[in-house]
């Protein structure tokens, strides 16, 4: 009756990831990276269980796919906002492998009240 454990785990991580994106929780977002990699590795192995668990697994995978779509959509918004934010500051969103940003040009008018 239980779904495949890896599918269950994948769905749980993707739900958490989407929630972290929605609430702008960077710590959870960073923690999810390793967990997602591990869950992905799990999906490759493991034997599928008997007939009743198949239905539950399909449901779980459908929910995981839905969470993935949610993540992609929220991620696209973040990318969009970052690009807009950087463009408004007269800078491109380019950054190096170590995470360093290029010096930004401050646009003081943006600090002003609406």
């Amino acid at each position: 009756m239980r779904p495949h454990p890896a599918a269950l785990r994948l769905r749980s991580i993707l739900d958490r990831l989407a929630s972290a994106l929605a609430t702008v929780n960077i710590d959870t977002l960073l923690a999810c990276e390793a967990e997602l990699a591990a869950a992905l590795a799990d999906l490759g192995g493991g034997r599928l269980a008997d007939e009743p668990s198949r239905e539950a697994t399909v449901r779980e995978l459908a929910a995981a796919r839905s969470a993935l779509t949610r993540c992609r959509r929220l991620g696209a918004t973040i990318g969009d906002l970052t690009r807009m934010s950087m463009a408004a500051r007269g800078d491109s969103p380019a950054y190096g492998r170590q995470g360093e940003t290029r010096p930004t040009t401050r646009v003081h008018s943006l600090e002003a009240k609406v």
């Binding site: 990276e33 959509r73 500051r89 600090e111 609406v114």
Partner: protein
């Protein structure tokens, strides 16, 4: 003495500035849950010395600033109307969905009952009770079509009530916004009063953007102009332009006008946009399908009935009143009044001989005939497709709303996170967040493929 006096003045000024800063902190804490309140920041500036031989005159409050991020606020203004539009669509469509009825308990059941009665008539074509039963089943079916079309019409008018409510609220909010524009224009630039007025304006704008897609244009004098529906002015400075909702023939539904110009079809966002879309796009689409089904039922049954013979051996007349056109067929579907009055006029026979049942059998056989959608579906299947369409539209709107609500929540959280930090910190924070997302996103393709593989393995 003047040096000592100057030092004392300088110290007093510094104390005043710090006291003001503390007051502002208290104000920020007190308003932590106030809608529209933006955190205040005090901007301190050193007071220059009077001459070359003085160290300076301490510190003074230069300005108070509200920590707002214009870009994020604008993004919220863009997302909110879409979210509220989808919410309004889902809310109103769920009422239509409920009106359609459950599978097997609506028009589909009455279609079955009608064909069952024709089948029973074919077993005993001379039976008067069987004739009565077929006529009653036909009456029930016609009545169900009329009721369903009536419910759609009622729902369109119920939506109009909500449209009127939204228009009233928009006018009220536009009036308040214009008044705030006027007061902001009169307030001293950068004063706490001005900031308070802007907070209020932000709350009004937030509510407005839930009702309609609204665009803002900053005025040079400090106010903000508002336009709706892709450029129709709603507020210009201190003047609000009234949005009018007037009933229009032939159906009496409300049309929206601004400045004498009809703008109904230009309103696409907010709850108002959602209401209009359901009223003017979704429900008419459903009515078209319902009309097509009712028209086909009437014309197919009538054609078979007219080819048959009644109990007296006369050629059959109409079973249903022949619909004049597809449009409006459901609302006007009715049994032929002559047949209703005399069941012996029911043509069950295919030849003018008592006891023949060919026409009754042909009418019962319509159940399995693919007469809808260009020969693709039976009448019952066409109904099922119609009911499924309404259900899936409702679900899609709800899903879209939840998805947009997520984005609104995200942008609001981001606005909270960056509010009050410097632009550099804000940019850094957004970049870090984006990088953290991208670290996860690198696995998304693999996750997608793995889900596909697993589903194939399971054989679903």
């Amino acid at each position: 003495m003047s040096g000592l006096f100057s030092a004392l003045t300088s110290a007093t000024r510094a104390l005043e500035a710090q006291r003001f800063g503390l007051e502002l902190t208290g104000q920020n804490i007190a308003n932590v849950n106030t809608p529209g309140y933006a955190r205040r920041e005090v901007v301190l500036a050193s007071v220059p010395p009077n001459d070359l031989f003085s160290a300076g005159n301490g510190v003074d409050v230069e300005a108070v600033r509200a920590a707002r991020d214009r870009m994020l606020e604008r993004r919220l203004q863009m997302e909110r109307p879409a979210e509220q539009r989808d919410a309004a669509i889902a809310d109103t469509l769920s009422v239509v969905d409920a009106a359609i009825g459950r599978p097997g308990q609506s028009i589909d059941a009455l279609l079955d009952a009608f064909f069952d009665s024709a089948s029973r008539l074919s077993e005993d074509p001379t039976s008067t009770p069987a004739r009565y039963e077929t006529i009653r089943a036909g009456q029930s079916l016609a009545s169900a079509f009329r009721d369903m079309a009536g419910r759609m019409d009622t729902e369109q008018h119920a939506i109009d009530t909500q449209i009127q409510g939204a228009v009233d609220e928009i006018n009220d909010l536009a009036g308040r916004f214009a008044s705030l524009n006027s007061r902001i224009g009169a307030a001293t630039d950068g004063s706490t009063i001005e900031l308070q007025l802007r907070d209020e304006q932000s709350t009004v704008l937030d509510r407005l953007s839930q009702l309609v897609d609204v665009d803002t244009v900053a005025r040079s004098g400090g106010g903000v102009d508002l336009t709706i529906g892709g450029g129709h002015p709603l507020v210009i400075g201190a003047s609000a332009i009234r949005l009018e909702a007037t009933s229009t023939p032939p159906d009496g539904l409300l049309a929206l006008a601004c400045n004498g110009q009809t703008i109904t079809s230009d309103i696409a966002g907010g709850r108002l946009g959602g209401f209009l879309q359901v009223r003017d796009v979704f429900i008419p689409g459903y009515l078209d399908r319902l009309d097509a089904l009712a028209y086909q039922v009437a014309t197919e049954v009538n054609a078979l009935h007219a080819d048959g013979y009644d109990a007296a051996g006369n050629a059959g007349g109409a079973f249903f009143v022949a619909p004049a056109a597809v449009a409006g067929a459901a609302a006007s579907l009715a049994l032929d009044p002559d047949l209703e009055a005399d069941p012996q006029l029911l043509a069950a026979a295919g030849v003018p001989a008592a006891g023949d049942n060919q026409t009754a059998r042909a009418i019962a056989g319509l159940r399995d005939m693919r007469v809808m959608n260009g020969g693709q579906s039976t009448l019952s299947e066409a109904w099922a497709q119609f009911a499924y369409r309404v259900g899936s539209d409702t679900q899609a709107a709800r899903h879209e709303q939840l998805s947009r609500a997520d984005i609104v929540k995200q942008v609001a959280a981001l606005a909270d996170a960056v509010s009050g930090v410097s632009l550099d910190e804000e940019a850094m924070m957004m970049l870090r967040f984006q990088r953290a997302y991208e670290a996860n996103a690198q696995f998304f393709r693999a996750v997608d493929e793995s889900i596909d593989t697993l589903l194939q393995m399971i054989g679903s």
